[in-house]
């Protein structure tokens, strides 16, 4: 695994010089920002540094040669603190799910690091990786495909103990599984049933119980409620918040539903085309967004209040998200941005506190990757 990571530079046939320099700078500023973060948060439990994942595009049947790369994740950095929820929002293709898979070491990162308690998990394999997996678990989007249909609920939730026998002695396992079912609000007697005998919301609870089995510190949630009915979503969100308090869990909560992300998150990162556009506390992002993409995203969300529309300007973006195989130069968002100027196509904006807000303590003073970051009065989502 480790060797593969280093091949990235040579894989990219014509590296864009400005971009490489800029990405390095992003890394630095992010690190600086992490140091400047409020002290009360303590040490970050997970530090993501300049994470990159390119999926090679190849041509040819027998002799495959690389003709390009889908830049799914292209230099993402953030921190996750003990007990907090970091929401990551973005549209399809922005790379948020790939970030989840990279954090779980389910994909090999092209470059960059993910430090869990100081240890870079992108370089781990074998026994060391297995040990880390005990502490980082995942909840999947689709409750219908994430449970093996041929295993009983007891076997599904008990599987973590089979893989990590040191967590629970053999005699205790059945009791532990029943306890977990109880914790997620399912009848412990259901232990011998099969997944298809449950509804979507109940299945998602089973998936959460499986994620909890090893007492992890971090749970990566990839769209955990978007496949569920509205009336059931709230139940699952409440469960997740309860469990967070009970077990002091840290969540990375990936979703496209902005109102749910706001409800559950302490901090929110907005992704666009493989890059982090803006990151800050929930109030900073939702009430004082400075990146035009965040502003457009927030104003595009249909608000369940017919009168809300009259309260602010609504931004409707033109066009579609460009292909991550061939992203625009400079700022990724410039092709759809109403503020774009020449500078945007040549210079990659860094994720940093904008110059004009530096030193001030307005809520607008948070990291935003835009040359022309400023606040704008828009219709707020979930307000």
């Amino acid at each position: 695994m480790a060797e593969l990571d280093k091949t990235d530079g040579s894989m990219d046939a014509t590296p864009n010089v400005t971009e490489v320099v800029a990405v390095d700078a992003t890394d630095e500023t992010a690190a600086v920002a992490a140091i400047e973060a409020p002290v009360e948060r303590g040490e970050p439990i997970l530090q993501v540094r300049n994470l990159v994942k390119h999926f090679p595009l190849s041509q040819g049947i027998l002799f495959k040669r690389q003709v390009g790369a889908v830049k799914a994740v292209d230099g993402v950095s953030f921190d996750l603190y003990q007990g907090e929820t970091l929401g990551i929002v973005g549209e399809s293709g922005c790379g948020k799910s790939t970030v989840a898979r990279l954090l779980m070491a389910l994909e090999t990162a092209t470059s960059g690091e993910v430090f869990y308690k100081g240890q870079d998990i992108t370089r781990l394999s074998g026994r060391a990786l297995k040990a880390v997996r005990r502490n980082i678990q995942m909840v999947f989007q689709d409750p219908y495909t994430s449970l093996n249909p041929r295993m009983t609920v007891g076997d599904i939730i008990g599987e973590p103990f089979d893989i990590h026998p040191e967590v629970a002695p053999k005699g205790d396992r059945r009791a532990r599984v029943q306890e977990l079912l109880d914790v997620v609000g399912l009848n412990p007697e259901y232990i011998n049933r099969y997944p298809h005998q449950f509804s979507g919301g109940q299945r998602q609870r089973i998936g959460i119980a499986r994620g909890l089995a090893l007492n992890p510190e971090i749970i990566i949630c990839d769209e955990p409620v978007s496949a569920l009915d509205v009336s059931v979503q709230a139940q699952v969100i409440n469960l997740m918040e309860k469990l967070q308090d009970e077990f002091n869990l840290s969540y990375v909560f990936i979703a496209h539903d902005l109102s749910i992300v706001r409800h559950i998150s302490d901090r929110v990162g907005v992704m666009y085309l493989g890059k982090m556009a803006e990151i800050g506390t929930d109030a900073e992002i939702y009430d004082h967004p400075t990146h035009p993409y965040t502003q457009a995203l927030l104003s595009a969300v249909p608000v369940p209040d017919p009168e809300a529309r009259e309260r602010g300007e609504r931004i409707i973006l033109t066009g579609d998200v460009p292909s991550p195989a061939n992203p625009p130069s400079g700022c990724r968002f410039r092709t759809r941005c109403w503020k774009a100027q020449d500078k945007c196509s040549t210079e990659l904006p860094l994720l940093a506190v904008p110059e004009r807000f530096k030193g001030s303590d307005t809520p607008a003073a948070h990291e935003s990757a835009c040359h022309f970051a400023e606040e704008k009065d828009i219709v707020g989502a979930a307000s």
Binding site: I163, H164, N187, R193
Partner: protein, 316 residues
């Protein structure tokens, strides 16, 4: 992918049915596995019962032919019984189906011939499922160069005409016992199972539950045998059951051509070959072994159909 072919209404029916089993706190308290559901479905199909009873009978005949006839299938009585016509009233007696050109009881030959056919059918299927299934599983799961190599080999074998290939291979053997025929047919027949297995393993390994197991730190054997294989098995079982009938008829064809089983082994194929020479005046010598062959093949294909419908209700 069954989901892609789903019609709107089916999707609706699924949506309706999904929570149905779940909210029963009192009713439907029993666990229902997918295999259990398939079995439930099978039990309600007359086709399944007809074919199973037929096959059970055939298996008993194959195992204990002596129970069904006292006549000697090998030594004929040319002087008394040369091509005697059948006497359909004499149930289970030596002259029930008449006598063949060497004065042997056709009924006894049909009964004793069952064993070879069933052995070849079951034997080839077992070998093919084992080899093809294993190769398909490895190719599908590991992918990469292993997949390329196995797939190309499969393609090469797929290009060989099945019967022609078997004839060429068997021609090299002078002493053609049952196991030789099994090996020859299995040697050429594993490709279809391999392809089916490869495809369903590829589908299964992309499922989220496999990712979930990897995220838990599960090793390859666990993922392969606990998660991928059980979910990839159904199509293989269906293809194997239906193919079984095909192998039986392939054996008969080869024996008919003189390239399959040979005397002293008793085979329907040999009898069909012999009977076909006297078809004008004595069709009975051909009809009974041929009828028995068709019945057996039919039973296996019918079972395969029933199993397919039960395992994948969406195909219906």
């Amino acid at each position: 992918m069954p989901d892609a072919t789903k019609t709107q209404t089916e999707a609706v029916v699924d949506a309706i049915a999904a929570p149905s089993a779940a909210d029963g706190h009192k009713e439907q308290g029993k666990p229902r596995s997918l295999w259990g559901d398939a079995w439930f479905d099978l039990r309600h199909r007359p086709m399944f019962w007809i074919s199973s009873i037929l096959l059970l009978l055939l298996l008993v005949i194959a195992a204990f032919p002596g129970l069904f006839t006292g006549a000697d299938p090998r030594n004929g009585d040319l002087t008394n019984h040369f091509l005697t016509k059948p006497d359909l009233g004499h149930f289970f007696q030596a002259d029930w189906f008449g006598y063949d050109g060497q004065g042997r009881s056709i009924y006894a030959r049909v009964i004793y011939g069952t064993r070879a056919s069933i052995l070849v059918g079951v034997g080839v299927t077992a070998a093919v499922t084992l080899v093809g299934g294993l190769l398909g599983m490895l190719a599908g799961y590991f992918g990469g160069w292993l997949d390329s190599v196995i797939s190309r080999i499969t393609d090469i074998f797929f290009g060989i005409p099945f019967l022609l290939g078997a004839m060429v291979v068997l021609n090299a053997f002078t002493d053609r016992k049952v196991y030789v025929v099994i090996l020859a047919l299995a040697f050429l027949g594993w490709t279809s199972i391999c392809r089916v297995m490869r495809a369903s393993v590829i589908t299964a390994k992309q499922a989220d539950y496999v990712t979930a197991a990897r995220a838990l730190g599960a090793g390859t054997p666990r993922i392969l045998f606990r998660h991928v294989l059980p979910n990839a098995l159904a199509p293989t079982i269906v293809v194997a059951t239906i193919a079984l009938g095909g192998y039986i008829s392939a054996e008969a064809t080869l024996s008919f051509l003189g390239l399959g089983l040979a005397d002293p082994t008793i085979s329907w194929g040999i009898d069909i070959a012999e009977g076909s020479q006297a078809i004008r005046d004595n069709p009975h010598a051909l009809l009974f072994p041929a009828g028995m062959l068709s019945l057996t093949v039919f039973a296996f294909i019918m079972l395969g159909d029933a199993v397919r419908d039960a395992l994948d209700p969406k195909l219906r």
